[in-house]
């Protein structure tokens, strides 16, 4: 051991010495050489393989989601008032906006697919065996976090699809006995879906879950390096040892090729079939038929079969049992045997669950096509999305806009007062619609502070403080003064 350590240190020094001066300078301060070496020289028993690319593929996709997500946040506003407008702006106006949003949205599906491949590979290779329980658990936590990401991200565009799918999704929580309703309200920020729900989902999607994912990935990778790569499913120790090769260069090459395939696939999809946006969420719509994202469809179909008293079994007991079985897998299956054909029970259960999910998805699709009412409503919804996508982007009228204020000006007396307000050039200092300027305070809300009589008095005879600020006394006929006061008091 001693000998080997000194040998590797010597070798390391040789390599460092053979590099440039800058690299040596950097290495003395950061230890970058040994860092790189421990990352790149990770031994892979049995050699590099295309079967091992899924983990790094997931990391790559996660980083892609982080980057595109950060950029999307440049234009997105998480509020029920503006979320849909800003996503429409990104999709229809901003250069490359539709492309980046599509990469992000398709990226979430890609993560689900690669994650399933990663889990299936781990399962079939029996790579969870041999002191890898914690590694598996960390992976399970990451799986759950990823499902949380896709669920919270789905609401953010605030279109019909997002709103109603999330309404149903959060309603499922209330089936949980005792705490269900409290949980639902906690997640929604109230009993109903609203702008607070959007804020909560945004914070979860953008701050909290990603932070946990970063930590989870670090733990997962650390535990993986502790346990070492599991290697091929069979082969005697001597052959494996002989064919062992480091992570770099061949496995790195495979991983990069896989990442390139992923990003090319996403780029092509985003370019050829950009993600659409439907009309803004209308909570009053009673016709809308919500459907979740494709990977939640099997669960959605599953829940249809459980009614009344059985609902708890369908929603909580059975999925909970399956999840527990999944999480506890390395604790339950302790045989060292890794070859899948020697593990018929485990493989059969795994296959049944996956095929079952596929069948449920297919059934859901068939039900939708067979029910004429649902089929026609879904077709109509699709048309609505298409027609919304065809209309050019319509900027949102700012709430403080005069045009918006004018709508509220139904009172003819106040409307007359508005003309006087402008004729008297009150708006020169107090701003259009009394919003206030650097020269004079805003008048919005003064109606709550002063009654008409008091306000008339102030206009006729400003206080010394007002006069000092440049406010002149207002001289008007009584009826004009009445109109002006009515207008000023109407400003909200």
């Amino acid at each position: 051991m001693e000998e080997r350590q000194s040998k590797s240190r010597k070798e390391q020094n040789i390599t460092v010495e053979s590099r440039g001066t800058f690299f040596r300078w950097l290495d003395r301060r950061t230890g970058v050489d040994s860092l790189l070496r421990s990352a790149l020289d990770e031994p892979i028993a049995g050699g590099a393989s295309l079967a091992y690319v899924f983990g790094s593929g997931l990391l790559f996709l996660f980083l892609s989601q982080v980057i595109t997500g950060v950029f999307l946040a440049l234009y997105y506003v998480p509020s029920a008032d503006h979320a849909h407008t800003t996503i429409a702006y990104i999709t229809k106006e901003v250069t490359a906006g539709s492309f980046i949003r599509s990469i992000h949205a398709y990226g979430s599906s890609a993560i689900v697919i690669v994650l399933l491949l990663h889990i299936t590979q781990t399962f079939l290779y029996g790579s969870y065996k041999g002191k890898r329980e914690l590694l598996w658990l960390a992976g399970c936590v990451l799986f759950a976090l990823m499902l949380g990401m896709s669920f919270t991200g789905y609401l953010l565009p605030w279109d019909q699809k997002a709103f109603f799918a999330t309404t149903v999704g959060t309603n499922i929580l209330s089936e949980i006995p005792l705490v269900g309703n409290a949980l639902k309200s906690l997640l929604r920020g109230g009993t109903e879906m609203g702008t607070l729900t959007l804020s909560r989902f945004f914070v979860l999607h953008v701050f909290m879950i990603p932070a946990f994912i970063f930590a989870g990935v670090a733990v997962h990778v650390y535990l993986f390096r502790q346990a070492g790569a599991a290697g091929p499913i069979q082969g005697d120790a001597a052959t494996l040892k002989q064919t062992t090769e480091p992570f770099y260069p061949r496995q790195v090459l495979f991983d990069i090729v896989f990442a390139l395939l992923i990003i090319c696939g996403l780029g092509l999809l985003a370019h050829l079939a950009p993600i659409e946006l439907g009309p803004k969420a209308n909570p009053a719509d009673t016709q809308y038929v919500p459907r979740p994202e494709w990977y939640y469809i099997p669960v959605f179909q599953w829940l249809k079969y459980w009614e009344g008293a059985l609902a708890i079994a369908g929603i909580l007991v059975i999925p909970g049992f399956v999840a527990l079985l999944f999480v506890a897998l390395p604790f339950l299956d302790r045989r060292p045997e890794r070859r899948p054909w020697k593990r018929p029970v485990a493989v059969t259960i795994y296959a049944v669950i996956f095929i079952g999910l596929g069948v449920l998805g297919g059934l859901s699709r068939r039900n939708d096509l067979r029910d004429p009412a649902v089929a026609s409503q879904l077709a109509k919804q699709h048309e609505d999305v298409e027609s919304f996508m065809k209309t050019p982007f319509e900027p949102e009228l700012s709430g403080s806009s005069l045009a918006a204020a004018n709508v509220a000006l139904a009172d003819p007396l106040a409307a007359k007062g508005k003309d006087i307000f402008e004729q008297q050039a009150c708006n020169a200092c107090h701003g259009d619609g009394g919003v206030g300027t650097a020269a004079a305070p805003k008048l919005i809300g003064v109606g709550a502070k002063f009654d008409s009589e008091k306000l008339t008095g102030l206009l006729k005879q400003p206080t010394t403080k007002m006069t000092a600020g440049g406010m002149p006394a207002t001289n008007l006929k009584d009826e004009d003064m009445k109109a002006l006061v009515a207008y000023v008091r109407s400003l909200k």
Binding site: M1, Q5, T95, I100, Q226, G267, F393, L397, L402
Partner: protein, 191 residues
């Protein structure tokens, strides 16, 4: 790092560092350069849409100057004295639209052409009012006075009332509303 690693997986590490079936160090570092260059160029390509996305507000072809309707020309057939009109000005602010009302004065020039004056005093930005009895514009704030054609008559303002770009289109007078810098002797557009 390396030491602890070697300790954890003793079976494999020697093979990694002893050379064995590995490419020579020179070939490894050549491959490394190739990989790094390839990855960097793909990364650069991928960052193009991100740059375009970020720079969108700077390079967006700004909508042509928006023209606001002042009113039908017939309404101003005798714009003597000046006629005050409220126009609606629409501004785009990213995904928002801000609509505001601005007061302008329409005057008829000796050659029969219309001119549109901003009602904002070039002194400190108060709204000037037309005083028919004195046949002049008076700023209520600091007493700046202007003639019917906007020329400065007296008071603190550094210049006369600002003329806005205007044109007649299908019998309707239109104006391109702009703001001008205050307290400077020459008209200078600020927005």
């Amino acid at each position: 790092m390396l030491e602890s690693d070697a300790g954890n997986s003793p079976g494999a590490s020697p093979a990694a560092s002893a050379g064995g079936p590995l490419p020579s160090p020179a070939r490894r570092s050549f491959l490394g350069v190739l990989l790094a260059a390839g990855t960097a160029s793909v990364g650069a390509l991928l960052s193009v849409p991100l740059f375009r996305f970020v720079l969108h507000p700077l390079f967006r072809i700004t909508t042509p100057p928006s023209w606001s309707e002042v009113g039908p020309v017939a309404e101003f057939s005798s714009a003597v004295p000046p006629v005050k009109k409220l126009i609606t000005v629409e501004q785009r602010d990213g995904w928002r639209k801000i609509v505001s009302e601005k007061a302008v004065y329409v005057i008829k020039q000796p050659d029969g052409q219309f001119a549109v004056l901003s009602s904002i005093c070039p002194h400190l930005g108060c709204s000037v009012a037309w005083r028919a009895e004195n046949n002049e514009f008076l700023c209520p704030c600091h007493g700046g006075r202007f003639a019917a054609d906007g020329k400065l008559l007296g008071g603190p303002p550094p210049r006369g009332l600002d003329r806005l770009e205007s044109r007649v289109e299908e019998g309707t007078l239109k104006v391109h509303y702009q703001y001008f810098r205050q307290l400077v002797p020459d008209k200078e557009v600020i927005a």
